[in-house]
Amino acid sequence: MGTVVVLITLLVGLLSGLTAGLARENTSAVTGLEADRLAFAAPPDGRPVSFTDSAVGERAWRTWAGRPGVTAAEPVGIRTLDAATGDGRRTAAVSAFGVRPDGGLAPGTVATGRVVLSRPAADGLGAAPGDTVRLGGSEMTVGAVAGDASYSHTPVVWTSLDDWQHIGGSGGSERDRPGGGRATVIALSTHGADLAAGDEAAGTRTLTLDESLTAIGSYQAENGSLQLMRGFLFAISALVVGAFFTVWTIQRGADVAVLKALGASTPYLLRDALGQAVVMLAAGTGVGTALAAGIGALLGGGEGAVPFVLDASTVLVPAAVMIVLGVLGAALSIRRITAVDPLVALGSAR
């Protein structure tokens, strides 16, 4: 039984790390923005917002910037495209994040013709500060390599908003075009702002950073599938542990009858059985978690590694959930102890 718990914990641990790793590759550029909300162009007919369809104009971010309680409203352009080294020998798919040079959103200094590569982008292109890279036909100089931001499984290249507007559009409607430059979303830093009124005035829909992840096309489907697998694994583990303790309780029926005949109270026997379940689950989960952490460290280390996050949320939380669900499964099973008749110990009592 301990082996089963170890294996399930290992599987859950690996899946948790992988899920978080994939999520990070999908979203870290968004979750890492120095902002608490994103304002998207309000889609028509109440449709859900998406990064792909959103396009906001200068009028919108200026409107937000002037709202009370808004401390910063920075336009961010997002577009996925191919990048190449200056000599064209190496290419990589990247996400270009266009920001204003003085906006404070990029991890380094961007300027017209000067980009900041995230480390994965620099690794993919084999580029270093001072090198030339080509983004959508425009040649730019690498000013710095900083951060490890990633969006929709592609590494991020930070550009100036002006450059971003030249290398590609926002991908959506350009209704704000008469108002000036374009971007995909507006990164807002707020403190007690009236968001509904702001949306009304700017023609946007504002979401928190976490809420806005659902606007990344692939994120919901991918994350939903992995989370569903994780949920099933947790359910299976509870069922397996429950089944084990059902058999265990039946096998111990004679011993339980003797203990009851000797004067053991039913609560004592339940506590005793549950205590043994907890010890076994804790030991099995501990070993499984250690194995998952070790394998995760191996998978996640080095260049071109599997996306794997090794932290408390992917190591300790699954372990705790395993123990809690296992104890619930065991508790449901060992309640049979209450039905054991101590007369069995006397054998020929009837």
């Binding site: 003797v258 005949a261 004067g263 109270s265 039913t266 101590p342 007369l343 009592a349």
Partner: protein, 226 residues
């Protein structure tokens, strides 16, 4: 402290009717005496033991165990009474397979929640009293049938019971070992002043007991003081 059953009747469901296992049985066992209940199989001996052990509630009658009238006691109170005042020696030793001899005896102290160090000393003293001082760390499969039965007796005595209920202790033993077990029970009964009831169908060793009662068809048919 004594064991007293007064006019006890016990019936079991048997198809559409009820089978009478005990029929107006009265029995008094004084402290420091060993009373044998003999009779053929199915006569009601084990039912008598089950009632005395508070494992079964009779339909009628009064059962007083070590001064406690068991009528109206709840399950938890009966369990506590068995734990603190009653010792049971099972027909099969019913030892827990994974525990050593001394741990088998310590189970009783563990159930009562007494101090561990004093309990361990007492468990070893009891194993010494039943002649198993050198077998304290052996598990059941490393003990003979007679030795297992002695562990069973030591376990029953661990919480200093006022009433000792013994169910066919010699059924799996040869004559010599059976006699030794009966000698031990008789000695412990007097030494520890327990009111001991010995249920047996084996009349071979009844010269060791203080009194004998005979059961037939759920009734006590004879009461013969030794």
């Amino acid at each position: 402290m004594t064991l007293t059953l007064t006019d006890v009747t016990l019936t079991y469901p048997d198809g559409g009717t009820r089978l009478t296992a005990l029929d107006r049985v009265s029995l008094h066992v004084a402290a420091g005496t060993l009373t044998a209940v003999v009779g053929p199989s199915g006569s009601g001996k084990s039912s008598l033991l089950a009632v005395a052990a508070t494992l079964v509630t009779p339909d009628r009658g009064r059962v007083v165990v070590a001064g406690t009238d068991t009528a109206g006691l709840g399950g938890a109170e009966k369990a506590a009474l068995r734990r603190e005042r009653v010792g049971i020696v099972f027909q099969q030793p019913n030892l827990l397979p994974s525990l050593t001899a001394v741990e088998q005896v310590l189970v009783m102290a563990h159930l009562s929640g007494g101090p561990a160090r004093a309990a361990r000393a007492r468990a070893r003293e009891l194993l010494d009293a039943v002649g198993l001082a050198d077998k304290a760390d052996r598990r059941p499969h490393e003990l003979s049938g007679g030795q297992r039965q002695r562990v069973n007796i030591a376990r029953a005595l661990m919480n200093e019971p006022a009433v000792l209920l013994v169910d066919e202790p010699t059924s799996a033993l040869d004559h010599e070992r059976g006699a030794a077990v009966l000698d031990l029970l008789a000695a412990l009964t007097r030494e520890r002043s327990t009111a001991t009831v010995l249920v047996t169908h084996d009349r071979a060793h009844l010269d060791r007991v203080d009194g004998t009662v005979t059961m037939r068809d759920g009734r006590l048919t004879a009461h013969a003081p030794a």
